[in-house]
């Protein structure tokens, strides 16, 4: 029964925080809502018997990435956005919402009608499949190539980032 409560608490937190990101006019508040959503998702991960991933989620997202976001916002002092928070264009906005609605409908119907076709899956709660040992085993055997490529990516990214932030002037200089 506890996990039912945990689910509902974190699900509600996640959804409300997500709405906050979507709707709050102030970027700082958006970022803070995003942190809340990350924490909610981490809770859901925990509930899904994946404590390691939950920990990574908190550390990487709520920790590193969000700090970056907040730094940027603070450095450039992005305050309230004037004249609405949404892009203008009535027709395009209508189309965007229409298709997003269609998409949600399709998603919902697939969750309600297609997933149910698999019957009611009962997870083996004692299975240690998300333990770090097992994760590592799979990651360093089946996914070792992807892992190496990821390592390369993580090497390139800082270089690119530094290069980008060092650009002075260029064609866009004012």
């Amino acid at each position: 029964m506890t996990e039912v409560f945990i689910f509902y608490i974190f699900a509600a937190l996640t959804v409300f925080a997500g709405l906050g990101v979507l709707l709050h006019p102030n970027p700082i508040m958006c970022a803070l809502h995003l942190v809340a959503a990350m924490i909610g998702i981490a809770g859901l991960f925990f509930n899904l018997n994946a404590p390691f991933i939950a920990a990574v989620q908190i550390m990487v997202y709520a920790g590193a990435v969000m700090v970056l976001f907040l730094f940027v916002i603070m450095i450039f002092d992005l305050k309230e956005e004037g004249r609405g928070i949404f892009s203008y264009g009535a027709l395009s906005n209508f189309l965007k919402i229409l298709f997003a609605g269609l998409f949600s409908g399709l998603l919902l119907s697939s969750i309600l009608f297609k997933i149910s076709r698999f019957g009611y899956l009962i997870p083996d709660k004692t299975a240690p499949q998300f333990e770090v040992r097992n994760l590592a085993k799979v990651m360093f055997t089946d996914y070792v190539f992807a892992f190496e490529v990821l390592g390369l990516l993580l090497l390139v990214i800082p270089i690119g980032t530094v290069a980008l932030s060092r650009i002075r002037g260029g064609t866009h200089a004012q």
Binding site: F45, F69, V138, L154
Partner: protein, 106 residues
Amino acid sequence: MLSSLLTIGLGHYLFVSGALFVMGLLGVLLRKNILVILMSIELMLNGVNLAFVTFGYFLNDVNGAVIVLFVIAIAAAEAAVGLALIVTLFKNFKEANIRFFEHLKG
């Protein structure tokens, strides 16, 4: 009815996941501020992550979690680059409105 609310299954998690994804989507489509758009993308990625872990859990499969780890790493990298770009743009234009960058001319 009540039992389906009290027994947490695949569908419940997927619903949250889908909700996160759609909210992120709407954020990307509608918001004006580039930073917020970037945040919305993170939101969408997290929705997907949740779906992966959910399926991994209910199907007793470890692959779901491994892919989530990769996604997190790539998302972090993407955020770093995206923010660097935004910093550069903002330094040059003092502008965070995505519509400002509509025209690809120097």
